[in-house]
């Protein structure tokens, strides 16, 4: 035990995590509430999940959201990885300052501004609002998050691996696919997952960029939330949380297992 880890430190962590998790836990618990009053416990029930799956509007919205998230996360991962390569490998080219700015600004840009500006772009070029425009909008802001995730991995990447590959005769493009990409793959995968959930969660940008027929799940939830808290929405939220939690936990378990396996291999190698 680290002697500098005081009771004060432990208390602040416990309180902080309670603050972070309690609202989510309560939300999940009350999705199983039999009572229609969200805040009064009326016994355990899964009826809201049943009625959720019969709600055609929500189901349609969910399907749209998943398709948008799959497509936008995949494209954003490619673009974001390229952007990360540019940030870390090409330190000298005209317009680099502008490029860095365009990668980092969307991370903090208020969503209402991004949403409005993208919408006005789509109108200006005469693109009909719908599935395509939402997807394009999501690619644009989530690729910057992917870029940041991949970039941090590239910064700690041992360049001599690439140099060794090229020294052994692999041209740069081949080197990238055979050496660089496999090494940074975990970061690329977590970048994809981040882009996927960002797209799944987004309300503001989607509201601006989408049109009739491309209502996403957060938009649907939002319009119902405005009318009041209902157990059905709690149930929908719980499912979304569960999907994300399962995804993240599965990823971390896989990572951990790989780590354990690697350590075991290393120990075996040590023993000879």
């Amino acid at each position: 035990m680290n002697p500098t880890w005081t009771r004060f430190n432990i208390t602040s962590i416990v309180l902080g995590f309670a603050f972070l998790y309690l609202p989510i836990v309560l939300l999940v618990v009350f999705s199983f509430n039999a009572s229609k009053l969200v805040t009064v416990w009326g016994g355990f029930s899964t009826k809201w999940y049943a009625s959720l799956f019969q709600n055609q509007g929500l189901m349609d919205a969910a399907w749209v959201t998943i398709r948008v998230a799959l497509v936008s996360a995949s494209v954003a991962t490619v673009l974001g990885t390229l952007a990360a390569l540019v940030l870390t490998r090409y330190t000298r080219f005209r317009g680099r300052v502008l490029f860095t700015g365009m990668v980092f600004a969307p991370l903090v840009m208020p969503e209402v501004i991004t949403g409005l500006s993208l919408l006005l772009l789509f109108v200006a070029v005469g693109l009909d609002r719908g599935f395509l425009t939402v997807t394009l909008a999501h690619i644009t802001f989530s690729m910057c998050f992917v870029a940041v995730v991949v970039q941090s991995r590239l910064l700690s990447f041992d360049r001599s691996l690439e140099e060794a590959a090229m020294d052994l005769g692999a041209p740069p493009v081949k080197t990238f696919f055979q050496i660089t990409l496999p090494v940074i793959a975990p970061a690329v995968i977590s970048g994809w997952m981040l882009a996927f959930t960002l797209s799944l969660d987004d309300l503001v940008i989607a509201s601006f960029a989408s049109g009739p027929g491309a209502t996403t799940l957060p938009m649907k939830i939002y319009s119902q939330v405005r009318l009041g808290v209902t157990p059905e929405i709690n149930a929908a939220c719980t499912i979304l949380i569960a999907i994300v939690a399962i995804g993240v936990l599965a990823a971390s378990v896989v990572n951990k297992q790989r780590e354990v396996q690697r350590r075991r291999d290393e120990q075996a190698a040590q023993r000879g």
Binding site: S12, I13, A83, V86, S152
Partner: protein, 323 residues
């Protein structure tokens, strides 16, 4: 445009024809690597701002799209001068005439500022505790901080409605243990907005703080103690000043998006609270006044330019140090 990849492939003397081809290929490839994301961001991030600015200078019209075009690039020079005459700052004048907008900007900046400070107060002890935790525990703690960030923003804000309502869980709890006899009115007040922002943006504050605190060499604190400094004064003289880069990064990560926040004031703040993100939303969706909404966005961007540039600067500096 010089790059290492091209120069390395150029130095392979072997098969003349093949190396020339490879060089050409890798030259194209490295150019594409830059051009593809560059053009994408130019077109989908930078150009839209120009359009926003352009539309903010045009007139409202009842049509689809609901504004009169301010610039027609097809009409040549004459069209340009005509268009320049057409440009109007009416929307901006309108913003200054109605105190609603001015108040909304001020109140957004103030709310974001107070919330950022509160987030720092809540986040610092957490990040500090994590950095001091046993090394084996740290990845788990880090994971636990990041996890809420993966769950929907909307859902996390929504969860607070059920807690903060007059007949909500917090009031039930407080009245149950007898701390209060009347329910507290928190929902639809500025307090609810503060809680919402602190809650939603906490991971953004904790992560940069943790990464600077974790990197800090513990022997610095020991040295300060050794030289006669009590632990509390060592914190203020050594730990805190050295964590300033993390404090600045965290505060900017919270402050900038909080100024333009829409979901939190809309769901938790009720109709009485004033924030510019919601004003913009209303102008756009309820009043369908796109030019005024664009003008609001342009001014909001101007308000945020300095913090955004500061943020870029901090990011670039951090990247230099990692290199």
């Amino acid at each position: 445009m010089t790059n290492a990849a091209a120069s390395v492939s150029a130095s392979i003397p072997a098969d003349e024809e093949k190396s020339a081809g490879a060089r050409l290929l890798s030259g194209i490839a490295s150019r594409l690597v830059i051009l593809v994301p560059y053009c994408w961001l130019l077109f989908f991030f930078l150009v839209p701002f120009v359009i926003v600015f352009k539309i903010s200078l045009s007139q409202t019209a009842i049509s689809m799209p609901p504004y009169t075009p301010a610039l027609d690039f097809g009409a040549g020079f004459a069209g340009l001068t005509d268009a320049l005459k057409e440009l109007s700052f009416d929307n901006y004048v309108w913003l200054t005439e109605d105190p609603l907008y001015f108040n909304a900007y001020i109140s957004s900046v103030v709310i974001a500022g107070i919330s950022t400070f509160l987030t720092l107060l809540v986040g610092y002890p957490i990040a500090y505790g994590m950095a001091r935790a046993p090394a084996s525990l740290r990845p788990t703690l880090l994971m636990l901080v990041i996890l809420p960030f993966w769950t929907s923003f909307l859902i996390r804000v929504y969860a607070w409605i059920g807690i903060l309502k007059p007949e909500g869980l917090l009031n039930q709890f407080l009245m149950g243990v007898g701390v209060i006899s009347e329910p507290l009115i928190i929902l639809n007040t500025y307090t609810a907005i503060f809680i919402g922002i602190v809650y939603s943006y906490l991971p953004f504050m904790v992560l940069p703080l943790y990464s600077t605190l974790e990197k800090m060499d513990n022997s610095l604190i020991e040295a300060a103690n050794d030289l006669g400094c009590t632990p509390i004064s060592a914190f203020w003289k050594i730990t805190f000043p050295l964590s300033l880069p993390g404090v600045i990064a965290g505060c900017l990560l919270v402050f900038i998006p909080a100024v333009g926040e829409f979901v939190i004031p809309d769901l938790l703040g009720g109709s009485q609270t004033l924030m510019i993100g919601r004003t913009l939303w209303n102008e756009f969706f309820n009043n369908r006044d796109w030019p005024v909404a664009s003008a609001v966005a342009t001014i909001l961007l101007l308000v945020l330019v300095i913090p955004i540039v500061l943020f870029q600067h901090a990011q670039a500096k951090a990247q230099e140090q990692d290199r």
